[in-house]
Each structure stands twice: as C-alpha cells, then as structure tokens.
Symmetry: C2
Subunit: 271 residues, 2 copies
C-alpha cells in the first residue's frame, strides 16, 4: 500500500464525522479528506440502486483527489454498496459493517445481538450476514429507527422525546434479551446517554464508528499511528455548502472547521 496520499472518508451527510473524530484521536498524523453528500442526504430511506450510484460517484471523486485508502463512513452505503466499491476501486476500502459485527461478536456473552440502523441498512441484511458468518450460533435481531437521525440533527439527542422514541424502537430488541446492541448508524454515538438509560447497564453498546476507526488502525499498520500530529489535517467536501453542516460538524468534532469545499453534483460523474 502506498504511504502517500490522504485517507478519504465519506458519508451521506455529517454523521461520518463521528468516524473521523475516532480516526483523528488514533491517527493524528493523517491527512483526511471528508465528503458529505449534503445535497442528497439522507440515504437511509432510499433504494439500494440510488445509494449505490451515489456511493460510486463519491468514491470516484475522492479517488481523483489522490486518496490512498477509502473509508465508507456511512452504514447505509456500507450495507448496500460496499461489494461494488471494493470491486471497482483501485485502492483499499473499509466499510462499517464488518468492524461493527466483529466488535459485537467479541462483546456478546450470550450470543444474542441486536442492531439499530436506518431502514436501508436493516433491510439489506448485511449486519445479519456478517454476524452469522463470524458466529454461526448467534441470534440476531434488528430494528429500523428512521426517527433517530432527525432527532440528532434537531439537537434533541438528550431530550425526553428522544428517550421516548428510543424506548419504542428498543422495546422489541430488549424483549428478545439482547446483551449487545450495534449502533449501526454514524449518528447514533451522540445518543449513547439515552440508549444507555433505556437499555440499562448490562447491554454492551457497540459504536460502529469506534469499531471502524480501530479496524482502520489495524489495516494501516504501525507506521500510520506513529506519525506526528502536525502532518495531519481535515478537508471537508460537501455537495450543499449552505446547510447546517458546519454547526453539527463542529458539535461532533469539538473544534472549528476550516472552509468547506463545495462540489457541484455535475462533477460527480462516473467514468
């Protein structure tokens, strides 16, 4: 693998920055190009065909910027588009599903594993297949939670309304006695306090964002982790620069962002 070139990370919107935050804590010396498809967000209720096309367009755009590694920091894209991206991309690709499934299988004592995610992520069956491949005797239960991303983006993650909605979505999973819950969407780490309160102390909460960052460190090897922080940096591309991206992004990352680079959708052309 080439040692030159930044790491490319993409998501439908701002949520993938939870992955960027975890990567930067572990690899402060890496340059990161982040792409948020803010003009076409969200992906979670859309069809595999549409999500695949958008994902391929963005992967192609980031490859043209000279990245050496691609992180698909969107569970929906990972769930429906990863095989196609891995086949087409001429660089290594890491998605969210396998790292999350591995961390869940490691954490679970009873083998009863739950997933919360978008409609498209749950419908894809990608997490179910990954968990079953790693632990054939595991029992897997999933709940699509379309309201959680809007709640996080409205800034209501710590609100009683969020608690009520989370309780409704988690109810059927907790009734199946899951001892491990995969947070299968990059927005969900922000909901950990509410998820913890509703699920109770005995359920392991697996952040797919943390799991993916750890997998990236392993894939890049010890050289990357040793780089000095001064060499690192974050550049953000967005398809709609006029949205609340900056506000939510700075809340997630905990520091100000540099200028956003606007990318017209016309530039997202497939070869």
């Amino acid at each position: 693998m080439s040692r030159a070139g930044p790491i490319g990370v993409f998501d439908s919107g701002v949520g993938g920055l939870t992955v960027v935050g975890e990567i930067r804590r572990r690899l402060p010396g890496e340059k990161i190009l982040y792409f948020g498809d803010t003009a076409r967000v969200p992906y979670g209720n859309k069809s595999p065909r549409t999500v695949e096309r958008y994902s391929r367009e963005i992967a192609h755009f980031l490859a043209r910027q000279g990245i050496r590694f691609l992180v698909v920091a969107c569970n929906t894209s990972s769930a429906v588009a990863l095989p196609g991206l891995e086949k087409r991309a001429k660089l290594p690709v890491l998605g969210m599903i396998l790292p999350g499934a591995e961390a869940a299988v490691r954490a679970s004592r009873t083998g009863r594993i739950g997933l919360i995610g978008t409609r498209a992520t749950v419908a894809s069956g990608a997490y179910a297949r990954a968990v079953k491949a790693l632990a054939p005797r595991a029992r897997f239960f999933a709940a699509a939670c379309p309201l959680l991303v809007p709640l996080v983006e409205e800034g209501w993650a710590q609100d009683p309304v969020a608690e009520e909605v989370v309780a409704r979505y988690l109810g059927p999973l907790l009734a199946r006695d899951v001892d491990t819950l995969i947070l299968g969407c990059t927005h969900y780490p922000v909901l950990v306090p509410v998820l913890r309160k509703v699920a109770g102390p005995s359920v392991a909460l697996i952040s797919s964002s943390e799991a993916a960052a750890e997998a990236l460190v392993r894939r890049l090897g010890p050289g990357a982790a040793g780089r000095a922080a001064g060499a690192g940096g974050l550049t953000c591309f967005v398809t709609d620069a006029g949205t609340y991206f900056r506000e939510v992004a700075e809340r997630i990352l905990g520091h100000p962002l540099g200028p956003l680079k606007a990318v017209d959708e016309e530039r997202l052309v497939l070869p």
Copy 2:
C-alpha cells in the same frame, strides 16, 4: 391559456400528493403528472441554491412532458424557487405561499398569524412577506419544525410522540396568541388531529394544500371544473422508484397508484 395538456405538480417527495388529492376532488376531469424527487428528498433542510436548482430541473422536465400548468406543491420550493420558476417557465405557475397566506388572512380575526414549516421555508421569509403584503398590520410568527415530516413518514402522525413534538413546536406560537396557523408543508395535513388537539378549537388551521387547490380552480376557470371525471388520471414520476413512495402515496390518496415512472437524475438536465 391552452386547454390541452395535463397539469404538472411537483414536490420533493410524496407530500405534494396531499395537493393532488385536493385537486382531484375539485377537478376530477384533469390529467395530472406528478413528480416526486424521491432520490434527493427532503428539501426542507437544504440551501436555497440547491433547492432552486432541483426545482428548475423538475420544472423543465415536466414542461418537456407537455404540461399546460405547473403547480409547485412543495412549500420549500415555493418559498425559495418560485420567482425564478415564474420568470423562466413558459407556462403559468402556482406556488403554495400566496394561496396559504390569502386563506390565513381571510381566516384571522385578530391578525395574529402563525406558520409552521421546514427550516428552509421559515428562513426564506416568503410567508411573512406574503402575509404582510396582504395585511400590513398583521402580526406574523413562525416556527421551523424539522421533525414533523419524519414523524409523518414513519406513520406516527397519531402517536403520543407526535403530540409531544407538536406541543413543543407550537408552544412559542400559542404563547403569542395566534388565532390562525398556516400548515406550511404538504405533509402537515396528516397531522391535523394532533395539531387541533394541541392548538385547541379556537385556532384556525390553514392547509396550504387545500388553499393551493382552490387557487388552481380559480386560475383554470369554470371550464376545467366541468370536465367529466373519465378524462382524468394521475401519472407519477419519481427519481427513486424503490422507496416507500407507493405505500405513503396510497395512504395519502386513499386509492392504489398505477405503475411509477422512474426518472434517472441524468435526465434532469437544464438547458
């Protein structure tokens, strides 16, 4: 105005079908071409520049299908893109803002008028300008309600969670003693029972969908209303055919839809 050609209606997604339903009750003899931009929905959190471009692309596509009249059945598009569409389109255009504002001014006894809508609709100030132009002494108050569309699309419009969220959003408007509330988003008519419960019996609820349909009847004149129902029909174009469009659409319209026509975004090219 030409008597031939269907009426074109567009929205970011499925919500504009509340307008179609109102049009079809009044004008059963009209052919309607509906366009739902389901691959890029929602518009309500996006920037004016992005919403303008998407709206122009769709208006141009529908014009090429031979429509004789364009209804912008999306409050966000109407709020930010209508002046540009009216200038460019070579056919008559009707948006949601003026009909909604007129109906609100007619309904209000105290001149204290409230608006609920998406972030982009509220931020545009379009309803405030329209109300003030019609009733310069009116007092206007607005609340952006980003969670209401996701709640409707999740099918939770009659849920206690919806009631709690609506109460939170309406609180500041009711505290200003509005006697009239404009439902400034085509999804909101589905929330009328909850809005009525929270706002109480004395607040007039103005559906922008109904107001726009009534304005269309006036604009088309008596000939259109007299057409026999047999000549009418509804054709739906969508940019993502694999979503929950059909399910939500049939719930809104109360009858089954014919086949959806998928439109690749590549075909949405501006001249």
